[in-house]
Every structure is written in C-alpha cells, then in structure tokens.
Assembly symmetry: C2
Homo-oligomer: 333 residues x 2
Amino acid sequence: MARPTVLDVAAAAGVSRATAARVLAGAENVDPAMTAAVRKHAELLGYETNSAARMLRGGRAGAIGLILAFNELGSIGGTFFTSVLKGAAMGLSAGEVQPVLLPADLEDRERIPRFLRSGSVDGAIVILQHEITHLVDQIMDSPVPIAWVGRPADDVGSAPIVVDCDNYDGGVQAGRALIEAGRRRIGIITGPPDMAQASARAQGWTDELARHGISPGPIVHGDFTVDSGAAAMARLLQRDPQLDGVFACSDLMASGALRVLQAAGRAVPTDVSLIGFDDVAIATASNPPLTTVRQPLEEMGRTAAEALLARVRGQDVASEHILPTALIRRESL
Amino acid sequence: MARPTVLDVAAAAGVSRATAARVLAGAENVDPAMTAAVRKHAELLGYETNSAARMLRGGRAGAIGLILAFNELGSIGGTFFTSVLKGAAMGLSAGEVQPVLLPADLEDRERIPRFLRSGSVDGAIVILQHEITHLVDQIMDSPVPIAWVGRPADDVGSAPIVVDCDNYDGGVQAGRALIEAGRRRIGIITGPPDMAQASARAQGWTDELARHGISPGPIVHGDFTVDSGAAAMARLLQRDPQLDGVFACSDLMASGALRVLQAAGRAVPTDVSLIGFDDVAIATASNPPLTTVRQPLEEMGRTAAEALLARVRGQDVASEHILPTALIRRESL
DNA sequence: CTGAAAGCGCTTACAG
DNA sequence: CTGAAAGCGCTTACAG
C-alpha cells in the first residue's frame, strides 16, 4: 500500500471512517474495543496523518517561519544568530511545530511577504540584522503574527511581540565594572548612531559613569564587525593615549579592539581593561578571554518561539519581553 | 475578504474556476483577454495559492527537511554545520522549496521518522554529526529520498545521495605541503578510529609521506574538539619532542594543538609547522592563522540540495558527489 | 479554447 | 456512542 489513510485504518479495524478519525484525534467517548482496534491497525499500517489534508480542513499549518539573513552563517559573527536560531528552533520543536527557514537576503524581496500569505506558516520569528531592515515594512502587515528578536527601529504595528535584552542595564553593568576595576579614563566603541540598542548601551554606560562623577572618555562608532572595532580602537587611542578602559558594544568589536591594543603595546588587562557585549563564541576564543555583558541569546530565541506559539493559539501574550543581561567576568578586565 | 481563493479570482475576472486555475498555473492556451483579466484580479485581491490544497491535490510539499544536531549551534565548532546549512538552505530557496529544520538531538527519537512519513516534506538532507549516528537506521527507510552530507558509516540502502569532500586527497595535500616546507618529523592528530573520513585523511597523508620516503611520525587520536586537539598535541610532543610538523584532521583540533605548542615554547611555524582541516572560522581567528585543507562546506550543502531536488523531480541523479579539497596557505606552515 | 465535475484526505456538525 | 455526508481549495481529465 502506498500511504495508508484513515479509510484504510478504518477498514482494517472494521469501523467507520468517522470513528477511526475520532480515535486518532484522541477522542474519549469511543467504545474501548473500537479504540483498541483502531490504535492497533494504525500502528500496524504505519499510519501518519496527512498534514496537507488536516491543514486544508482548517487546522494550523504546524509550522513557523524563521526569518534571518544567511550571509553571515558560518562566520565567527554568525554565532550570534545561530544562538538565537537554536533557541527559537528548540522552542518551536518543543511545541511540535516545524521551524521553516526563510532567508531574508534574497534578491526577490516579495518572496517572504508572499510566503507569509500562502498559509504555509502560522507565524514568523524575525531575527533582526542590518540586512533585514528593509524587510520590516513588508513583514509588518503580515496576515500571521510576527515575533521580533531585537527591536525594529520603525514602528511595527499593533501589539507586535518584541523580545530583546536589557541593553541599558547592560551598559550600566559595563560602566560599573570598569569603575570598580579602578579605571577612570574610559572610552566606548558604540554602534551605528541610528541603532537604538547600541544607543541604549551607551546611555547606560554614560549614566553610570555620571553617577560616580566620572566624565565619559572618547566615544567612537563601529558597525559591530571585528575590523570596525579595530579601526575604532585606533581612533580611541589617538583621542586619548592615556585611556585605561574600553567598553565595546559587541564582542566582535572588542576582539578587533584587543588586537589593536596589543599591537600598540598596551597589555590587557594590565594597562587597559576591556569589556565586550553579547558573550558569543569569540569572547572565550580570544586571548585573553573577554569579560563581557551577556545577552541570553538562546533564551531570547526560545522566548520568541513560546510567545508566538501562545499567540497563534489565541492566548493573551505580553507584547514586550525584555530579558536581563549579566556581566561575565573573564580575563580582559 | 478573508483569504481569496481561485473561485474569488475567477468571479472577479468573470471566468470559470478552471480557467482561472489554468492561468494561475501558467498555461499558454488561454484567451489573452481572459489571461489578462485573471492576472489583474489575482494581483488586486492579493491571491496566493493555498499550499495545503495544492499539496493535497497531489503536488509536492514544496519543503525539504534539514536534519542536524542543534547542540553545537552558536559555538565555535558550530560554524562547520552552519556553513553546510547555509549552502543547503540557499540551494533549496533557489529551487523555491522551503527548508524545514529538524533538530536531531531530541529525546523523542521517533519524531523524525514520523515526520518523514507525514508527507510534510518531499525529502531530507542529513548533515552528519556524531550525535546523529543513532538516527541513521531510522532515517534510512524513509519513504522520501535522503541526501547525506558526509558519508554515513553504515550502509544506507539503495542509491542514496552522498555528498562528501575528497578526504584522501586532502590528506595527500597536507602531507605534501609539510614535506615541501622541509619538515621530516611529522605527526598526525587524526579522528576517532571508527570514522571513515578521518581514516581517509590519515591514509592520504601516510601514502604521500611514503612516496617521499618519509616514515610517518607518531599518530594520535582526537575527537574533533579543541580540547581533544590540545591533549593529543601533548601526547605527540611526548612521543617525539623533536617533532617539526603536525597535521591535525580538523581546525578545531589544530587550534587546540597550537595552544599547546606555544605553551611548550615551540614557535609556529618557525619550530613546528601546523596544518588543519576544514577551513572554518577558527582557522582565520587563530594566531597565527592556520594553513588548512579546505572543505567546500557551503558548496557541499548546495550540492546536496540540488541533487535532492533533482531526484524529487524524478530526474536521474548521481549517487556520489565528491567535491575537491584545497590547501589554503596561511601562516602556520 | 472553456466549463462542469470529481477527488486528494481529513474533521466535524448532524442525524440516528 | 456511531455513521453518512459535507466541505476545506486546488488541479486536471473529460466533455463540449
């Protein structure tokens, strides 16, 4: 037999198609003998519900889209996204829902909005990256609910699900740790000026310094890559050669900064203390390993999955989910 | 209107449901005026084919499963898998097919075989890792075609699609490069004894040394992790303190070996030349960056996707796809 | 070239 | 508690 249907199971068990369907759907009010017979023959035949038929009948698709740019996968920088991806995919799997990957960096920009309208997925999780910014508008008026990991710059309509970490408090923690390490001439490598998350981190750092009566050292911008961190560090050293502390708003930038500091003859942490942000793989792979502000990336992915599934099921779900950051002490401080 | 169907489009365009369906399916033999009307109203209504209905009608699911263990995602070691994943997902996307992630490391081991029988996917790509070994039997008798990236140890049935790199030749290239660098006391850190790929790499290396009349130095085993590489390197140095060359069968192990060599006061490459395998992110992130044998991971993923899609479409497809390896010269040789 | 009709496999409201 | 029947939206063989 090709693929057995409910009808095959029903015939084998000697009951009607409706009864077989009821048993397979887990109904309680069915004669025990019939229930047993149906179960037995379903097992025997290797019956598996046809997902297309169930879906067409009005059920859920049983799948959620995971929208992310693919270009960085496989690189060091990609560990950020794969951590979120991992948490999201595991959260969905736990809910018996399939994660469908939707590469955001395709030429055909209509592809994703079209897919969201095809009924193939019950919702989507967007793992925000720079490359995705242009998609925000198109994704926004999706007919299925969306969860954003990372806060989109634009307004994204009514009651979106947004999962992020407490960027401001992360900045506060970084500032405090540098101060407590005795640093007083502290610079910062922040992100692009238009990126809210980076600004919040910088603001937390500034405020914490102010609370201790310390005025912030030089402020320079990077774009979250290793190279931009290196270039930014060179500028910081130029602006204040006596610098004794640096807060880089990503581990990748911290890693680039570390290289420049060492090349310039500044020992880390003896001469200069360095703190990163994210706690991705490169933080532990660096030499010395980086002290950093941890974003709970995997948990953020999982939270997005759980909140989205709840919304798909019609439950009430909070719109904002801000997870705590935590200082991870390693050897660069 | 909720979601427009062909019937809605047909009504708006003033034609029958059959004609509308024909136009939407791209049929040629339809009156131009009707064609234009249908196209226009489909666009106007934002019509999108209901994938469940099409699938039920007998079409393809339009989705392919990507089976991989999730536990390493987000770690440095995970860049190996995400590179393959990237290639595979892009290859599938290019074919207008959705990649569905199937985490292989779930407690419920029946989950994946069950899913493969549900008709939700037209096939699956298995990205092999140690954690997946136990799944091979269950995946093997899948009703849909499977493509393996990496060669399974067991026999996997008739005409499976297997994509791998030329491991033997990679070993040859590593051996030759070390010899050409003037090294004569060359050790190897290979993989687990039961892993065919690692054995092939070691064999290529041994044969190439033999061709040059050089007898292989000490041979030790690791399990592809950084720590196992470090431990293996310590054993190599113990067995031959005069060692001047090392071939590590993965970049992660090479990175661990590098750390031990440097700690032991051996400068790389001045005192000891080191070659890795894979060419993953850690190879460039090391200090010095690693010379390594490149596996075309992304291309392997893409090849698996293309071969599988061709088979799903009923085309004749080669069973074996062995892609070439290439020596990437950096600074550890 | 066009339309009426059947059927993919499922679930459930309805009648008994 | 059980069964006959309808219908989800699509595609295509068939009749015209």
